[in-house]
Symmetry: D2
Subunit: 353 residues, 4 copies
């Protein structure tokens, strides 16, 4: 924390600031300046609310300098977090692709698409059983039935499952089935849910909130980490801005920015970021070129009949072409696509149950 | 829905669009134009996802024209929703002031502040027992103990209680004590929580999300209304923009905009919108002048020791001056401050228990 | 400037920072901390670009602490800037209303509206002769002919004229006629134009850019002040955000924020901020309640035929009601409407011709 | 234009709308609906201001459907605009790299950097002689002296010159020297300057404004095209949002969006978009992968002493590595780097002097 005094402040105002710093148990360092006197604060282990000082007479500004997260930051852990899911490593050197339908609509639909994305080279299968919808009148997902369908798809194609957890009540059911639990953008600051996710032993994919700063995002990750679950990865899915030419504004610059500050893997979701099929491929390629650890892409074989977000779903053919592009792009920047999971332990185990 | 065809589209593309409209059970009306042919869609009872058509060959754009909410809109209810809470009417002609500390910190603190705001003319008492905090290391509220303190304050000063509900797990406890349940900005699209709030019989104050459009906000209200709870009112608390001179950007223009579209009462929270005490009074006055039904203001008698948001809390003296200002301003625009609740039934009952 | 070293930086990295500070002619103050070492920089007379240090090895962050403007700030001038225009004081205690059509369309139209706003109590007459239009195909204003019409209106009704200057080429012509030169939002950072405006002897109204921070706005004012013209006032007209329920998002919080940092008068334009007639009155009232020095409002007696922005123009009747409201509101907060200018020298001269 | 009537509108209100449409010279098509009646408007050759109708009694909304630009759109020209500059084609299949210092600081500095970027494979040389600066106290560029230095650099290394034109007054001087005239973000809606640029015979690079929508950007291009200059290309350089982890938010999604709507080439400036050297390379690679026609990158061999934006400049070595990356990335997506211009006429002429 650095506290800046106003030009022309009174001596006793400065003394009051110093006294307050000390009363909070910290040390005050007065820094004289040509125009402004400043007071450096040290001795704190966590961020101090700058507004504790901003309201004091004679204070011009108070600027925090300690990062408000700890476990998510590079100061805490110098290496990279690698998360193993059914034989796939997320956050390592290899590029990982999560693909599947927006929503689980039926067993047939899910199996068809699961087979198609498996064949094209996807590493994990996504699909929503519980769907957060802006309107109460929109399709809300198949719920537990959807989870069963996802388990069946995993058993057949051998890809680990990524699916969204919407609330505390369905958390146990989702955690019993999913290999990765997804927290959606609208729940990024559902702190009660985050705490519960910190107590389970499954990886969590934390999507960025619609208007979340990087610091808020990492603090939400910190909620999960602080409860004991180290397997958190992040997913940029576009933010809300004035721009109206796309569903959201994809903020790819966040990829290197996260990598500077945090050891957590960072993925990109070009489907929600663009909202339109024809822009998904360019943005998925851009995400790979920017250095993301992977992408999550929506695929549907009958997008015109999809119950949710059909217009942003790639066809299996388009997805196949994208996988080819990503393969070449990864090699061009010295990386490679991750190997697909073998007929995995998970699917083998499953089939033996 | 209006579907615009591209200049130079093929006839069979137009036919495919018409066929698709019909397959969805709607009527298609072709509108010829000098530059563009358009297709009007009628017969739908709810909004249609424009992207159902945007992906089709030859389609330039698809524009929704039906509002995506129903119960919250003026088409459904022509009059105004008035909500009665312990003798106070929210949403009527009189201006209502909700005041109290950001967080319940102790019984002494809460009672002192409750007496002060009652004396200055407040109509409802606010105070957080469960606090949503960006950082997992910040004070998270007293929980159930805080609810007991709020009940004690109500019993003594006779003001109805407004307090936040954070998650489904604590909903029953909060609903048993609170007179009004507050949904915070970060929970505006916690749809599971909204549905649960639709099933209780207490008024709900729904704060606007950090980057919520007006339509999204009304659809979140619709989640509550659709489950059977008609007593919802809205609270603007500032949105997130590029502007960095305040904690949030207070969007007062939303006050007349909501009043055009919806019958639900609209309040303003100038404390969170500004984040700084010295700007709370100007913005509270502006809210009244803009026609809001009321304001919610944070008050603390020892803001320098507040565990939460002290810098934005008015002192009891400052709050008293604000009440004087609001009294004069309301009269200037032909309104008036609501009468304070008498030593209410609630408080009288309580004291007899 | 405060420079924060990374945790685990090397000693020689810190020395390099200190050396660089000194090489720039400043003093370096090392501030030891539990987690971070910081270096305070003093001795500079103007803001230092933080990125001079952000790129250095071992540096975590560099935070500017000196304000980037000087003449516009309260450190430079403790009182308030009051600007006298044809007998009206802008920036003083009295509330000032500027009104008139968006664009000068004809002499008849301008005179009719000028008479109407004069009669209703306006203090200055606005009207655009040169119009900045997003589309090259939209009405671009009458140009010099429009300036002549404005001069004629001033001669008849005796109100000083506010009109926009679009570019350097027409500056002399505008300055020869206008009493106040308006810089539009899209020109707020047209630095060449700002410098030229600093060399004339007429007051300048500087509108806020569509996405200008408060610091950028004051630096643009500084461009004018630094060239020798002290008569600058500011006008908030809404900013661009994600919100789509209004033409712009009116940021009334900027009114107290500007008053904290600067001695320049601050006005509000509710017409461009809302874009819709029915919201102009609530927002104009809110601006007065927030403490603005005045408002600028568009008025048209035949808005359905206006060549520019008709939908946001008040009718003369509506404007009359607004003046009544503002009169009452100003009194309610201890202020008052400014007295109208007497029949001015200009208008008296005119009547003798 | 589609005009939506309110539910419950009166018959005569609908008639008034129809009458108004006809009075404007257009045709009105009534579209009956279950909930809403709509009126389609045809016969107009340009966009109609929706607010002409929004203010009318009984009207719920008015939605424009004609694009507000013409020459910049694909309806006007089906192929792609290719711009030839000194032997380099912009907007074709090959990827083009513009590189050089932010500002021309001296002849030595400019020549050193020009040689370095030429050697590394750049196609055009950038450098600012006139600099738009937020603060009036910052370095404003060398002006005409800077233009002479750029001409000397072109003569020696044979790369065409891209430099910014700040205002009308220096336009002739800039146009006499530059091969491409750059319009900066803050001037994107300096309409007077745009009109002047439409009358010269040099290519113009139009950067996107800080908060410009895609439609506004294309309309600004239309200002230049409409005056007769067809050689306009666009440059995305990041927009202003709430996100604070980068100087601007790079909106790469605009690349495919522009390519859908317009035939004008689209470039990306990762230097201004990120503001930090270490993020320039990832974002330049992402731009290529997204399908941009080229990038513009700032390079400085002594960034710590740069007078402008040193922290975002790549070193010549870093730029060399970026060129290698771009070469591989372009091949991975089936494109290639453009060939460098041969020793041009200009440079050959120079060597004969």
């Amino acid at each position: 924390m650095l506290i800046l005094m106003e030009a022309g402040h009174e001596e006793k105002q400065l003394e009051a600031v110093i006294e307050k710093v000390r009363s909070l148990g910290f040390k005050a360092h007065v820094i004289p300046g040509a125009q402004n006197v400043a007071v450096g604060v040290t001795g704190n282990n966590a961020a101090i609310d700058p507004r504790l000082f901003e309201g004091m007479p004679g204070v011009a500004d108070a600027i925090p300098v300690t990062k408000p997260y700890k476990l998510a930051g590079r100061d805490f852990k110098r290496g990279e977090t690698e998360i193993r899911v059914g034989g796939v490593v997320l956050g390592g050197y290899d590029f990982v692709v999560i693909a599947g339908p927006c929503a689980v609509e039926s067993e047939e639909q899910t199996l068809r698409i699961a087979r198609a994305v498996k064949k094209a080279g996807a590493h994990l299968l996504r699909g929503g059983a519980y769907k957060p919808r802006t309107s109460p009148y929109a399709f809300q997902g198949l719920g537990e039935e959807g989870l069963k369908i996802l388990a069946a798809a995993r058993a057949e194609v051998g890809l680990p499952i990524v699916t969204e957890v919407l609330d505390q009540r369905s958390l146990d059911a989702v955690a019993a089935t999913a290999d990765v639990l997804q927290v959606g953008a609208r729940n990024m600051q559902n702190f009660a849910l985050l705490k519960d996710l910190g107590k389970i032993h499954k990886p969590v994919m934390l999507k960025r909130g619609l208007s979340a700063t990087l610091e808020e995002w990492l603090q939400s990750a910190e909620y999960i980490l602080a409860e004991g679950n180290p397997d958190v990865f992040l997913c940029e899915r576009g933010v809300r801005t004035f721009a109206d030419h796309a569903r959201n504004t994809l903020d790819l610059n966040v990829v290197p920015a996260i990598q500077e500050l945090s050891h957590l893997p960072i993925f990109v979701d070009p489907s929600h970021a663009t909202g339109l099929r024809r822009r998904v491929t360019p943005m998925a390629r851009a995400a790979a070129a920017a250095g993301a650890h992977g992408v999550m892409v929506e695929v549907h074989d009958q997008p015109q009949h999809a119950l949710c977000d059909g217009p942003q779903a790639l066809s299996p053919d388009e997805f196949g072409h994208l996988m080819d592009d990503l393969d070449k792009l990864c090699r061009a920047i010295g990386k490679q696509l991750a190997p697909q999971p073998a007929a995995t332990a998970a699917s083998r185990t499953k089939s033996h149950r």
